[in-house]
Symmetry: C2
Subunit: 341 residues, 2 copies
DNA sequence: TACTATTATGGAAGCGGTTCCACAGGTGAT
DNA sequence: ATCACCTGTGGAACCGCTTCCATAATAGTA
């Protein structure tokens, strides 16, 4: 039998459905023999009670919040996730947090459709993913409130965004203020697979800082590749072989910055004495390694996003907008005045 | 009205439930006027259709897997989580992954009860939490298969465990082999709040290695405190003020090892020239900072655990046991021969 | 012995949707 | 005028469980 129900069990055991249900909830007064028999039939038929039917009939309220992220590899997503989790546990209404990792950009739409179709979640938190107008409408239609944690300022009232251009500017300006003039940019392809323009935005900030200091852009100093430490490592090695290598590097993420630092050290140079390196994000790791970086309050963005979503779920229509603290330069030990060494 | 149903909507709109349902599924042939009216009533009543009722009647299979973890702060949990996620996405049956963070040890039992009561999940992955026999029975009774990723070898067939004693031995032995004789242990309280004896076990390994080399245990060299980088930092400072400070430190986790290294460097000493430091776990961070450590294949343990659970869910009764590769010493740049500097 | 509690059990009703079937009313072809 | 065929709609049946009520059988009490 495909999926036996309690009726099947009841029939096979020669008892009524009520009795089977009582056995299942190992509740009041069922005679030992009956219980025995029912249990054995359950075993035999491989019966498993339906979660939904049970929930419907008991009337449990059982709300799910979905968190969609591109992938959980980079620490920045983990930090946001942690923030979400915290916000959730601070209000102790029991929402479940369901994790959706969009492993491939192409599947994003499909995943979203499934979520809506099967009405899996009551609310959705979308992190750093491009979401089309069509998809927005889909969610609205289905009555699923959502909050977007974005890398671009979207003007959405239901969103929290980071000003990446400004962040890129801050990082670069810091290096320029220290007297560096040969400043490289190491980042992702300007628009990656997911259509997330984070690198592009931070790069724009880099450009505007250079412009402010009247420094022409040197194409050799702009190194793009896949996200990750290894790529950054490789790109940095290339930078160092230039006839006139940079004296400072702005890496668009802390992870990449770490890759840069390793490459610099491996080639016998010192950080920050010979080359300054600044990252972006301020993930946990950065504190550990003493990396100078731009803090974007990742954990807090997850926290606030979740709070907004909870608002929307608890009292539909009313959302208190939340704001992230401004980006912040965090100076540690990987940048230093030019020419000091 | 507390929770309006489609019947309420139907009555208020003066139509039949079928029509309301059709509107909700914006489906075939409903006259524009009717649709309009129904939608406005829905709006007015604040109607939201029940997820469960819908699922029951459409018969969607909608399976959830829960992952219970102590907290998501330490990277080691994140790595396991990533492994789980990967295993899940490799088989594309659509299971949802629900995250349960046990924020306080006391609440663990309560959370487990809720999960069982509300039959939220179809399977459970329990990471590094002590689970009582009573709780095991509870899950068995409820027919919820579970897999335990444990720090202790439990003999469970449905578990994956790490041999922490051996790991502690490996780490310490490595330092001893390098000629160190004054070797400190920096770790958590031997049994922490959650009743997880990880520190205790690794400490036992430490002891057995010392015994093998006939080195008496120096109580001053055993420093315990709360998990985390800061505590390790503080403990290490204390170690360095000893009349005869250690020449090598075994920190029970990579995070703590990083704290140790910072403290050493801040006090003007070098790692590994003056003091060797070895960690435990081999989280991502460790590769970045070049930490010598004991690799315990965290990501893979999450991966294998999830595979086992999926086995149990797909074909009840049949579980292919999975085994973790043995613990592995990973030598990087934070340990060195004693006296070489 | 007659009457009341108590215990074990069967089964109908209900949870809130979806879907199928029946049917009314209108259209167009014969 | 008759018939076949759409279109829009109402409502019963159903999804698989829990729970309450009714009832039979047994035990306890005066």
């Amino acid at each position: 039998m495909a999926n036996p129900t309690i009726y099947d069990v009841a029939k096979a055991a020669g008892v009524g459905v009520g009795t089977v249900s009582r056995v299942l909830n190992n509740s009041t007064r069922v005679s030992p023999e009956t219980q025995e028999k029912v249990l054995s039939v359950i075993q035999e038929l491989g019966f498993r009670r339906s979660k939904v039917a049970r929930q419907l009939s008991t009337g449990v309220q059982h709300r799910n919040i979905g968190a969609m992220l591109p992938y959980i590899t980079p620490p920045s997503f983990v930090e946001r996730l942690r923030g979400m989790q915290m916000a959730l546990s601070h209000q102790d209404n029991d929402f479940n947090l369901i994790l959706y990792t969009v492993s491939e950009p192409d599947r994003q739409h499909e995943q979203l459709l499934t979520i809506v179709d099967q009405s899996t979640v009551d609310g959705l938190l979308i992190t750093t993913l491009n979401i089309s107008d069509e998809e927005r409408d889909l969610l609205k239609q289905a009555g699923i409130p959502f909050v977007i944690l974005s890398d671009v300022f979207t003007g959405d009232t239901n969103g929290i965004s980071t000003d990446n251009v400004h962040g890129g500017y801050l990082a670069t300006q810091h290096l320029l203020q220290l007297g560096h003039r040969r400043v490289a940019y190491v980042g992702d392809e300007l628009t990656n697979n997911y259509g997330i323009p984070t690198s592009d935005l931070r790069y724009k900030g880099y450009l505007s800082a250079l412009a402010e200091y009247d420094i022409p852009v040197n194409a050799d100093y702009v190194c793009l590749g896949m996200h990750g430490e290894e790529t950054a490592h490789r790109l940095t090695r290339q930078l160092l072989t230039l006839p006139e290598p940079p004296t400072a590097i702005f890496a668009m993420s802390d992870i990449q910055a770490v890759g840069c630092i390793q490459a610099v050290r491996e080639s016998g140079l010192r950080v920050p004495e010979d080359i300054s390196v600044i990252g972006f994000d301020d993930v946990q790791l950065s504190r550990y390694v003493g990396l100078t970086t731009v803090r974007q309050h990742l954990e807090q963005s997850g926290y606030l996003g979740m709070q907004m979503l909870l608002d929307m779920l608890m009292t539909p229509g009313k959302v208190t907008p939340r704001h992230l603290p401004p980006l912040e330069l965090v100076v540690r030990n990987t940048t230093q005045q030019y020419g000091l060494a």
